[in-house]
């Protein structure tokens, strides 16, 4: 498994953002759904080795990220797009992607080619020399994706990657996700269930720090059958049904 999580928790003071999540996944596109504050971003940040877990076991790409050497090896193979992408306005698209390629410890000789490929893959070839300050929000998001995929990651973590993208770009991005998922484990945290339906082979749903569903998008859709769950699309209704069931179970326990 590329990602192995066992009883993983993360606390921020008295708040428990992630509460005992257990998960294992290999190559493919994995959708992570959940309402605001469900703990998706905290889970993704632990997977990205930004923050360590408070407790539990975490192995990425067969290595322990708690130890410096393996963590560095994981990071060489990691792509990460945070929810709020920070950027340097004075950098050009190519410079920004090249900068991160170098920080990811790619062999320097391979960097120019990898940068050009990544920029082309996100459809920014004609903006390669543009300063980031001149780009729209959607273009910046694509720059963020380019820096995440420049090192051909084996584990790609994308937090709200389609936010700000127009429908055409979103369709292209889903195709890119499917392509990347053939060789790598791609975990996509999103609010947009149509992204999950179109691109993900597996989906998990988080609520209040816990994993309340894991399966295929079809299985999630099936959860809505026989219920009066709200939603405009079948997947949305499945999402609502699972959430409602999880919350009623939690209420009954308490």
């Amino acid at each position: 498994m590329n990602v192995e999580i066992s009883d993983l928790t993360r606390r921020f003071g008295r708040t428990q953002a992630v509460a005992g999540v257990t998960l294992a996944t290999g190559p493919g596109v994995f959708g992570l759904l959940g309402p605001n504050g469900a703990g998706k971003t905290s889970l993704l940040r632990m997977l990205a080795t930004v923050i360590p877990p408070s407790s539990g076991r975490l192995r990425l790409l067969g290595r322990d990220p708690g130890v410096y050497g393996p963590r560095r090896e994981i990071r060489r193979r990691l792509g990460y797009l945070p929810q709020n992408l920070g950027y340097y306005p004075g950098f050009t698209v190519v410079e920004f992607v090249e900068y991160f390629a170098l920080l990811k410890d790619m062999p320097a000789g391979r960097v120019p080619g990898a940068v050009a490929t990544a920029v082309e893959r996100v459809g920014l070839g004609d903006k390669a020399r543009a300063k980031l300050r001149t780009l729209s929000g959607g273009m910046l998001r694509r720059v963020g994706i380019a820096q995440a995929i420049v090192n051909q990651p084996e584990l790609l973590l994308l937090d709200e990657p389609t936010a700000g993208l127009d429908p055409e770009q979103r369709v292209a991005f889903r195709a890119l996700l499917r392509e990347l998922g053939q060789h790598a484990t791609v975990i996509v945290s999103t609010h947009l269930v149509e992204d999950v339906g179109a691109a993900c082979s597996q989906v998990a749903l988080m609520d209040q720090g816990m994993l309340v569903f894991h399966g295929t998008p079809g299985e999630l859709t099936a959860r809505a059958e026989g219920t009066a769950a709200a939603g405009d699309a079948p997947l949305e209704r499945g999402y609502s049904a699972v959430l409602a069931a999880a919350r009623s179970t939690a209420a009954a326990r308490s």
Binding site: L23, T25, G26, Y68, R75, R76, E95, K104
Partner: protein, 511 residues
């Protein structure tokens, strides 16, 4: 809830680490192209022009004067701004919200930080050394003697690196848009505090980076004897140590492996040791006539005077200056020649005026010094004239006329007192109120001649020649003597100087 997919396990082979010169060079290239210091170069150039270039060019083209300005004025202007810009670069990740993104990259964070600092420091060095090249280049065309002083520039370069390191570290630790101005103000205040500290502490405060050879005036060192590098060595040691300690501390803070932490710890410890050693050595500094001496570092070969061939005026009494002072020869000659031509050939009169290195007496407990003045001595008599420490033409608002006035207020009174005597108000031994102290008739005659010659020589009032009461017989006698033709005055002095000096001539015997 537990979740698992059925996908196969992937254990990719280790990827080759690429960290090496090429990666570092590419990182540095990006950082150099997108560095805030690059955009500050025009401002730094303007600052240099105002703070250093203009004052430098107003001074005589002496390497020691201009080298001093390159360490003092340039750094006072540059260091706060450079530290502020470095803080801006150091706070970049925090301000721009890229900390998460950068934090999960494989390259040790310290390496990335060092690349950013190096690029920032590189542009700062370009600004500083570019300014040095301009000033020294012009000085090379103007100077009549000597060569560029390297040590003030070495201290300046070390200060630039240390300012950038301090600012960068501050920006990294407190990433805010306010970090840059706060750091700039703090560095400026620290430099100002150093000026105050050195006034009240003559030992450890000598390490202050703007301190060039203590309280000695800039034209007292590096001309008659070699520039003493003792203090500059301790300053470079201190500043380089400070930079290494700060950067090492950054490396300790950045997450990394054992070797990285060891390297950072070694850098921090070595830096602290170097900085501490610098301060300790500065505590043993003592001022000498030709610079600050630190016994542990001192090379006695630097105490030997530098041989030179003086430049002399073609006058009855030649004025000879160090070749570095060639441009001042006309002014010095103009200042002294009126009196020298009056007394030339008289018994005890100087046969030459010879510029000498100044000597000084250190004032305790403060760090001030008192410079020696002109003296006459030897056989045949020669006036030893130290020009160091005087306000030179172009320095501040000093004009050539004011420089001449300074010289005339120092040399002629000394010369007249030596030649004629009469510098004691009361030769009768009376000690009482000022009104009761009246010169004896013989002393009065001496004072009349001195007053007359001082008038002829253009000596400013209140310059050590006792004034005569206006309208008094003595005043009238002085005016009469001054009105005589120069040849008549000289002939009278030839005949009567020995008796006048011995106090054997009274007011009534004067022409």
């Amino acid at each position: 809830m537990t979740a698992a997919t059925d996908a196969p396990v992937r254990h990719g082979p280790p990827r080759a680490a690429s960290t090496g010169p090429l990666t570092a060079a590419r990182l540095l290239r990006i950082e150099l192209r997108r560095n805030a210091m690059l955009w500050m170069l025009p401002l730094l150039a303007a600052l240099f022009w105002f703070s250093t270039y203009r004052p430098s060019m107003a001074l005589p083209p002496w390497w020691n004067l201009r080298g001093t300005l390159l360490q003092q004025q340039a750094l006072l202007g540059f260091a706060p701004l450079m530290a502020g810009v470095a803080a801006w670069m150091g706070s970049r990740e925090g301000r721009r919200g890229t900390a998460d993104l950068v934090g999960v990259t494989a390259l040790p964070r310290w390496a990335g930080q060092l690349a950013t600092w190096a690029a920032t420091t590189c542009w700062a060095m370009v600004a500083y050394l570019g300014g040095v090249a301009v000033v020294y280049g012009i000085t090379a065309r103007q100077a009549t003697w000597g060569g560029p002083l390297g040590w003030p520039v070495a201290v300046g370069a070390a200060m630039v690196a240390a300012s950038c390191a301090l600012g960068f570290a501050a920006g990294t630790l407190v990433p805010s848009r306010f970090s840059a101005p706060l750091v700039a103000v703090t560095v400026f205040l620290a430099l100002a505090a150093g000026a105050i500290a050195i006034e009240h502490n003559s030992t450890y405060a000598q390490i202050w980076p703007l301190n060039v050879q203590g309280a000695l005036p800039p034209d007292t060192f590096g001309t008659f004897s070699p520039y003493l590098p003792d203090l500059a060595i301790t300053q470079v040691l201190f500043l380089a140590g400070l930079a290494a300690a700060v950067l090492g501390a950054l490396g300790l803070r950045a997450a990394g492996g054992r070797w990285l932490r060891c390297a950072a710890a070694v850098a921090a410890a070595a830096g602290l040791a170097a900085a501490g050693t610098g301060v300790g050595l500065a505590g043993t500094a003592r001022p000498e006539a030709h610079g600050i001496v630190i016994p542990t570092l001192h090379d006695t070969a630097n105490d030997k005077p530098i041989a030179y061939t003086p430049v002399c005026s073609q006058a009855a009494v030649p004025v000879c200056l160090h070749p570095a002072y060639r441009s001042l020869l006309p002014a010095v000659t103009a200042a002294l020649d009126p009196l020298l031509s009056e007394v030339a050939g008289l018994p005890g009169a100087p046969v030459r005026v010879w510029q000498v290195a100044s000597t000084h007496l250190q004032q305790r407990p403060h760090n001030g010094i008192e410079l020696s003045g002109p003296v006459i001595g030897g056989s045949p008599p020669v006036v030893s004239l130290p020009l160091s420490g005087m306000a030179l033409p172009g320095e501040g608002h000093t004009t050539a006329a004011e420089f001449i006035r300074q010289l005339r207020s120092q040399v002629p009174p000394m010369l007249l007192n030596t030649l004629i005597g009469g510098d004691q108000l009361d030769t009768n031994g009376q000690q009482g109120s000022r009104s009761a102290r009246q010169p004896s008739p013989s002393v009065l005659a001496q004072q009349v001649i001195k007053a007359a010659l001082a008038q002829v020589a253009g000596v400013p009032p209140d310059s050590g020649v006792p004034p005569l009461p206006p309208g008094s017989p003595a005043d009238a006698a002085a005016k009469r003597f001054a009105a005589l033709p120069a040849a008549a005055r000289h002939a009278w002095l030839v005949d009567h100087l020995t008796r006048l000096r011995a106090g054997q001539i009274t007011l009534g015997e004067l022409p």
